[in-house]
Symmetry: C2
Subunit: 138 residues, 2 copies
DNA sequence: ATTTGACTTCGAGCGCACTCGAAGGTTTAA
DNA sequence: TTAAACCTTCGAGTGCGCTCGAAGTCAAAT
């Protein structure tokens, strides 16, 4: 039993991307050249799908295409480049972590605003209160 | 003592944006029309700076300009629109929270990969191991 | 007198990551 | 026979959020 492979259409569906994007990623070197069948059609292996998966995770965490390209290149260079691959991932890890912290910080500020709004919605302001607490300005 | 106001340059520096961006935000309706001095030059009040601050927080958490515009419009509509403002913020709050969760999930997957890489870097693989754990494919 | 910084309207350009369609080809299945 | 699904190269278009510069004006400060 040889490993099952997928057509580009199937791979696209499986990975939830468009066939356009799969060819695009291969074209710009994010994916290695995908193996072809007797008719020259792409056959995606488990490994290829794994690669797509990894790329999508990197993308989802905000890595720009240039970064992914660099990673793919380091991969193509074989085992010698493992330390660089590790370094790249660690750097990205750090960046993502900081991004999460930034989001959390800003989210807290928004939470604060929401609380103020809730107070103001619950109590109908009387003529003496001017609801200046609400935003001040936006 | 009247409230101190800032020139556009000062406001830009203070908020860490460009004067281009300040005018742009005003132009597209994110900021209210900024008050002018005798010479027609913008004078940014504390309130205006607060508005910029809020916008930057929304932006930093990924709210598109259209969303910010909607918020600004609701603000311009006065107190009657407070419930809608609240709703908009709550929706955004939810979205940001989900975004954070997504980042954390993907970050964990990346952490996993890093761990595998670290194992492989520590132990020089012998002829029997083929380091297939490392990425598999990227 | 000149430099600085502000103002206006306008439209072009940029970087990113796709996204799509055209045009022309082949193979395979119904 | 026809339709579906794949292939190629190519270039144009999209949406976002700026970003910039041009051209012309004005007023205050040195």
């Amino acid at each position: 039993m040889s490993a099952p492979t997928l057509s580009i259409q199937q791979a696209a569906t499986h990975s939830n991307v468009s066939v356009h994007t799969l060819r695009y990623y291969e074209r710009i070197g994010l994916l290695p050249p995908i193996a072809r069948d007797a008719n020259g059609q792409r056959r995606y292996t488990e490994r290829d799908l794994g690669a797509v998966n990894t790329l999508l995770r990197l993308r989802a965490t905000g890595m720009p295409i240039q970064g992914m390209k660099r990673f793919a290149e380091l991969f193509a260079q074989g085992e010698g480049a493992i330390p660089e691959r590790l370094a790249l991932l660690e750097e990205h890890q750090k960046a993502v972590h900081q991004r999460i912290l930034e989001l959390q910080t800003n989210l807290e500020a928004i939470d604060g605003k929401i609380k103020i709004y809730r107070k103001n919605t619950q109590v109908i302001p009387d003529s003496k209160s001017n609801s200046r607490g609400v935003g001040g300005s936006l």
